[in-house]
Symmetry: C2
Subunit: 250 residues, 2 copies
DNA sequence: GCATGCGTTCTCATGGGGCGAGAATACTCC
DNA sequence: GGAGTATTCTCGCCCCATGAGAACGCATGC
């Protein structure tokens, strides 16, 4: 499948170490079904490149500093710019709800900022860099609705549409109709399709050409939403508009 | 030098992308002096493994989500346990100074927690995962003094003793004498050897066998230190003692 | 001291597959 | 439609990754 098997293997080893936190050459070998000498070669190469460290005491391997550096570089590159962060934080304050900002990244959809607090915590699986389940999140719907039909098709093809709750939209045609509506309304709602008892809403952020480039979203316990729909939508539009203004300027 | 050149090359490409934030195949090729087709092969393998993404719009390559995952795993593995973090934070509050906690990690010396605030900010280059310049930091001196002579020798051999300020100790024999003193006093001072106008101090944290396993440290503007030396030392000893107690228990 | 076990490295013959020049293709922008 | 650029394909060469097996180093136990 992958052209160069060495590289694939190397990352398999690296990820095996990452997953277990701390492991031995033997464990990696039997887990990945690679002969021991080869595993040692790979591990040593990874150590030489500072992606692993070899703990001499007990002969275990763990992640090395370069792994963290990569993470930092990724974060630095992707973190939403300060005006966007501010708008997201104000949305959080205004609606008393955890707020999110997401963008396209190549073919992907990625969360690049979150604003929450102890009273209004983020949804558990959501974090900076989150890039799954677009079909079941409000910001995902916004960004899916901004794609061309074929982009969206290959996106859903590649990732599938996992069923996360009884309300998750699991059929492409249903989703497609739903996204048309999202697109015309300029707001996406997500009612317990991602997590039980949780509702999200999102609005698009556009650049100078009017193209959708991002999504601003909030999450709330479903019981708190009733009656506030209009207020949520107008706040989303308001702050998404702020973001769009920044996008047009920059 | 590295046995498997493929792996070395692959990481060279990955790091080139990380360093530039966003780059093209051609730039990588001429920067690393690797023929273009080979660069594309490596880039595509990295994309296939989710360590890079290929931005279709402008044909640039950037870091992929797996990079962030690695960073998270590293952080999760290394972050100091909660009692240690609390002790470090209390030291910060007590002395009104940014506080740090560092440990051994294989042959390395790594910062695994920092506690600071706007009034008492951390030293700029210091961050979670920092693992350089042990000869010029207080916590580094503590942990170097806890090594055997040959461990320390090979450590300094491998990393050298870069001169960071006019006061940086740059000779191994001088450092060695200094570390003997540190070891007997049970406190390390660092006076503007790492950053100008900045002074640090550290105390060892020991496990049940009395072996040094960590270092608790503070940094302050040098002008604020005068007259407080005794108070700083006793607070360091106090909270390092708390950490040691935790280490004996765990 | 000798035996045992485990982690790690070495040796070496084999052949899979990585390599890179060059060409071909797929784009985009005038 | 043509020039320029980004990306992939082709293909034969030969390098070097591979893995079985053995050897080494270093514990611990008897």
């Amino acid at each position: 499948m992958a052209t160069t098997s060495v590289i694939h293997r190397t990352f398999a080893v690296l990820e095996a170490v990452a997953a277990s936190g701390s492991t031995t050459a033997k464990e990696v070998a039997q887990q990945l079904e690679i002969p021991l000498p080869s595993v040692y070669r790979l591990l040593n190469d990874l150590v030489a490149n500072q992606y692993l460290v070899h703990l001499k005491d007990d002969g275990r391997f763990e992640l090395g500093p370069k792994c963290f550096d990569l993470g930092l570089s990724f974060r630095q590159r992707l973190l939403a710019p300060s005006p966007i962060r501010q708008a997201t934080a104000e949305l959080h304050r205004t609606l008393q709800a955890a707020s999110y900002f997401a963008v396209y990244r190549g073919a992907d959809i990625v969360l690049t900022y979150l604003s929450d607090c102890d009273q209004h915590p983020r949804l558990r699986p959501l974090r900076f860099g989150f890039h799954e389940a677009a079909h079941a999140t409000a910001f995902g719907k916004i960004l899916l609705s901004g794609m061309t039909a074929e982009q969206r098709g290959s996106y859903l093809e590649a990732r599938g549409m996992p069923i996360l709750t009884p309300h998750t939209i699991a059929r492409q045609d249903v989703l497609s109709d739903h996204l048309d509506e999202v697109s015309t309304r300029g707001i996406a709602w997500e009612h317990e399709e991602f997590l039980p008892r949780t509702t999200c809403a999102a609005a698009p952020v556009r650049n100078g050409s009017g193209m959708c480039v991002g999504a601003l979203a909030v999450s709330m316990p479903s019981r708190k939403v009733t009656g506030l729909e209009a207020r949520i939508e107008s706040a989303l539009r308001e702050y998404a508009g702020q973001c769009s203004r920044y996008m047009r300027a920059g």
